[in-house]
Amino acid sequence: MTKSTQSKTLLSANELTCIREERILFDGLSFNINAGDIVQIEGPNGAGKTSLLRIIAGLSRPYAGEVKYAGEDITRCRDEFNHDLLYLGHLAGVKSELTAEENLNFNLRISGYDNFDTTALLAKVNLAGFEEALAGHLSAGQHRRTALARLQHSNCKIWILDEPFTAIDKKGVEALEQLFILHAKSGGCVILTTHQDMSIISDDILRKITLDYRFV
């Protein structure tokens, strides 16, 4: 925490309000996310964790307030912001008609990368030998790993991950945690939600933003 407060602000949320079906999920929510931060959004089901992540990623528009990237509203500098953003939602964005390799290939290409070794990247997420398997035939965990393989080859500073550990085994979770720490140390930030306890990322390096379930 102490270290990160001095470093550069990557994202700042300013008085965010989110209303879904006439119910206020949160309002007046402000925070900064700096380079080097690993931030966990926590709260009970229905508190608006996913909604908050989607607002920060620029997928949803807040009812009021704004998210700023490099001092500018993200809806006004989408191209620059998207260049620095890696978002993985509940849905992995993996096509079941394509093989693991084709999926990764496409996802990286469309993010602008041109030069990479899919086999090596898939091996890093323990999918060696599954390159040619259709994603639809993979198990839930492998399916998820196919999506997560993108993290292995990313120079985006801002990672926004909604439940990244779902369906991932213990060893896989540890590997991911290590990857997050590495990413934070190299000047990036990770914003995530999870219901699992993390073993390597201890509370002293983890920042938490807590959302409460509200009735009104």
């Binding site: 209303i19 079906e21 006439e22 206020i24 009812y63 009104v216």
Partner: protein, 248 residues
């Protein structure tokens, strides 16, 4: 401009502003339509070709011209709502849509009722009627789209995009329908022959056109007020109104 708009974007203020404007619109609408219709029905001279059936003009033409104007108004409101993110504009657009649809229906129906004595059949694929029919579909599309989103903030944006797409297309549709009808049925009786209208026939028509405009404005204000309340149900001032209403 947008600073000025923004000061009215505060829901409570726009609710109250609509409340202040409402009586004026209502009075003007009643007065204008009252005068225009009485004049048109009782005092305007008979058309030498169409006889008294032409008196339908005093509702058909105002409805037809206002149906288009209401669509433009709705699309403008949507555009303001989408570009400047002013929610009051979204609510206004949502309030106009059903009114526009009813007005368009009136234009269609009166057109048909006029067509029967003139052409001997209820429906002719005349350019004006066909355009009105398409306009009705456009309205219904906007209304249906707005209704099918649970989240009304999204609903307004989606319906707004559709309304704007519609506005871009309306001239093209209108042009193509006019062209098509000239292709398929040359020179039938045009039901609104401007040149033969004398002043005495024309003035009530113009009065009624303005009257219809005012009436649409008045109904829009009524619906707008309800829409503001519905979309701001979580705000204290609306809740206070709700408590008052129930205890009454």
């Amino acid at each position: 401009m947008w600073k000025w708009l923004n000061s009215y974007a505060d829901p409570e203020r726009s609710y109250k502003l609509a409340g202040t404007l409402l009586p004026w619109f209502v009075c003007l609408a009643i007065a204008l339509i009252g005068v225009g219709t009485t004049w048109g029905l009782l005092f305007a001279p008979m058309d030498y070709q169409q006889g008294d059936s032409f008196r339908i003009i005093y509702i058909h033409v105002p409805a037809a011209s206002m149906s288009m104007a209401a669509y433009m108004g709705m699309a403008t409101a949507s555009f303001i709502g989408i570009v400047w993110q002013i929610k009051a504009a979204d609510w206004a657009a949502a309030s106009i849509a059903p009114i526009g649809a009813v007005i368009t229906f009136i234009a269609l129906f009166t057109g048909a009722a006029w067509g029967k004595p003139m052409w001997g059949t209820w429906w002719v694929w005349d350019a004006r009627l066909t355009s009105e029919l398409v306009l009705l579909f456009l309205y219904l599309g906007v209304i249906a789209l707005y209704a099918s989103f649970e989240d009304k903030v999204l609903a307004a944006r989606a319906a707004g995009i559709l309304a704007i797409v519609g506005v871009v297309n309306i001239p093209i549709i209108k042009y193509s329908v006019d062209w098509w009808s000239s292709l398929h049925q040359p020179a039938t009786i045009k039901i609104t022959e401007k040149s033969t209208m004398t002043g005495d026939m024309l003035y009530p028509l113009i009065i009624n056109i303005f009257g219809f405009g005012m009436m649409i404005g008045a109904i829009t204000l009524v619906r707008f007020r309800a829409e503001v309340l519905a979309r701001n149900g979580m705000r204290p001032w609306v809740r206070a109104l709700a408590t008052q209403e129930v205890s009454k």
